[in-house]
């Protein structure tokens, strides 16, 4: 059933092309804002590049996950999902993994303008950067999907979502910045591997809590 739900998410995006495109455009406008606010000074940007990247991803995630849950509310499609004889925790899992896939696709595309427009050098070990980025995306989406599930029926959900999500996701952002900073500086992975543990625990804990709690928060 999880695969049915996941395929639905991916197919919906394939048909509507809303999420990745809007996340991408938003990401590019943030990069533009970065360029203007830092005067594209090599010194400023090189020091802050990892943080700037993950802050951008955070904002883009809010947009993406909010849209992902919003289209469930159009035409009351969500009621079809929750009335179906399926485990509702699977809905959380499908939102999580599909969100992770969309975020990763968007990130892969936006990395090039990020590095090129802001005149930052590519990391010395791109494979390691990619691998850790995947791990981090998974953690961000685990938190985002759960919080969005809670916020989806609330008034002003587009405000409530970031207000609830940002403090909860702060360990991931701290860890992501440290890991990316380490990779960009070419540090040996032992210097930053502790942060992978923190991200791993977020994935496990939020995954479990989300799967368990989703049944309680989906009903009107």
């Amino acid at each position: 059933m999880f695969l049915v739900l996941l395929k639905k998410e991916l197919y919906n995006e394939f048909r509507s092309r809303e999420l990745i495109l809007s996340m991408l455009v938003f990401g590019l406008s943030i990069i533009l804002a970065y360029a203007f606010t830092s005067d594209v000074s090599r010194v400023i940007v090189a020091n802050y590049a990892p943080g700037m990247f993950w802050a951008m991803i955070l904002f883009v995630t809010v947009l993406g996950i909010h849209r992902s849950f919003s289209y469930e509310k159009e035409m009351d499609a969500f009621s079809m999902l929750i009335a179906a004889p399926i485990d509702r925790g699977l809905i959380y899992l499908s939102k999580w993994i599909s969100g992770f896939i969309f975020l990763t696709v968007m990130e892969l595309i936006v990395t090039i303008p990020f590095f090129k427009f802001l005149l930052i050098d590519f990391p010395p070990n791109p494979l390691m950067a990619l691998g850790t980025a995947l791990f981090i995306n998974l953690a961000i989406m685990a938190v985002a999907s759960l919080v969005s599930g809670v916020a989806m029926r609330a008034r002003l959900s587009e405000v409530l979502l970031p207000v609830l999500m940002f403090p909860l996701v702060s360990p991931v952002i701290i860890a992501a910045t440290k890991i990316s900073g380490g990779i960009m500086a070419g540090d040996h992975y032992q210097l930053w591997q502790i942060w992978l543990l923190i991200i791993g625990s977020i994935i496990v804990i939020f995954g479990l809590v989300g799967y368990t709690l989703f049944d309680f928060i989906t009903e009107e």
Partner: protein, 214 residues
């Protein structure tokens, strides 16, 4: 088959349903009627497990519907006001998904055949965002036709339908009644209520008043 006891639901402490108790037997058609805002749609949504109730127990096919596993709602189908489907996907895709989530593997041919019967062949591949209200009602009818269920909950089945559509709905309801399927309809038209219902349950001030149809 369905037994509701002491069901209560409030919105901001204002009771909409207060201590509702009723039963639906196998093969029976029950019609819910009442003023706007009486709680008919709310009741159906609670039975469909879309809305949470404050208190009460519901037993469906001798299983606890409210606290039981997801499989307890396998034979219960809910069709609400809105289409309950994804606006970006086509009718075929939506039906395929909805049926698959109910554990049914239905072939595309069967789905298209059903859509054709209900007059939606030409628009079967269009995203349902472009459908009119009447077309969405026909889509819901197609869904009810294809899905396996023993109790169907339908909220205002005739709303938005033209004469042809209304005839199709009428025929479908009579067909289901003749097959001894259980139906739970929310209707506004008294005449239709008496025509289709074995019993009419009027929801008023949070309570239920029953009248039989002969």
């Amino acid at each position: 088959m369905l037994s509701v006891s002491h069901l209560s639901k409030s919105f901001n402490r204002r009771p909409v349903l207060a201590d509702i108790t009723f039963e639906i037997a196998t093969g029976e058609t029950v019609v819910f009627m009442g003023k706007n805002g009486a709680g008919k749609s709310t009741l159906l949504r609670i039975l469909a497990r879309i809305m949470a109730c404050d208190k009460g127990e519901v037993s469906f096919q001798n299983h606890d519907l409210l606290k039981g596993a997801p499989t307890t709602r396998k034979d219960l189908l809910y069709l609400g006001h809105a289409s309950g489907m994804y606006s970006a996907l086509s009718a075929v895709d939506n039906l395929s998904l909805a049926l698959r989530l109910r554990g049914m593997r239905t072939s595309k041919e069967m789905i298209i055949e059903a859509l054709t019967h209900y007059g939606l062949f030409d628009q079967k591949d269009d995203p349902i965002a472009v459908y009119s209200q009447g077309m969405l009602q026909r889509l819901k009818l197609t869904y009810a036709e294809l899905a396996e269920w023993t109790l169907l909950l339908m909220d205002e089945p005739f709303s938005g339908l033209d004469d042809d559509g209304a005839k199709l709905m009428h025929d479908a309801i009579l067909q289901w009644k003749s097959e001894a399927q259980s139906l739970c309809l929310v209707l506004h038209d008294e005449a239709k209520g008496k025509l289709y219902g074995d019993r009419i349950l009027r929801i008023e001030n949070g309570g239920i008043q029953e009248s039989l149809c002969f």
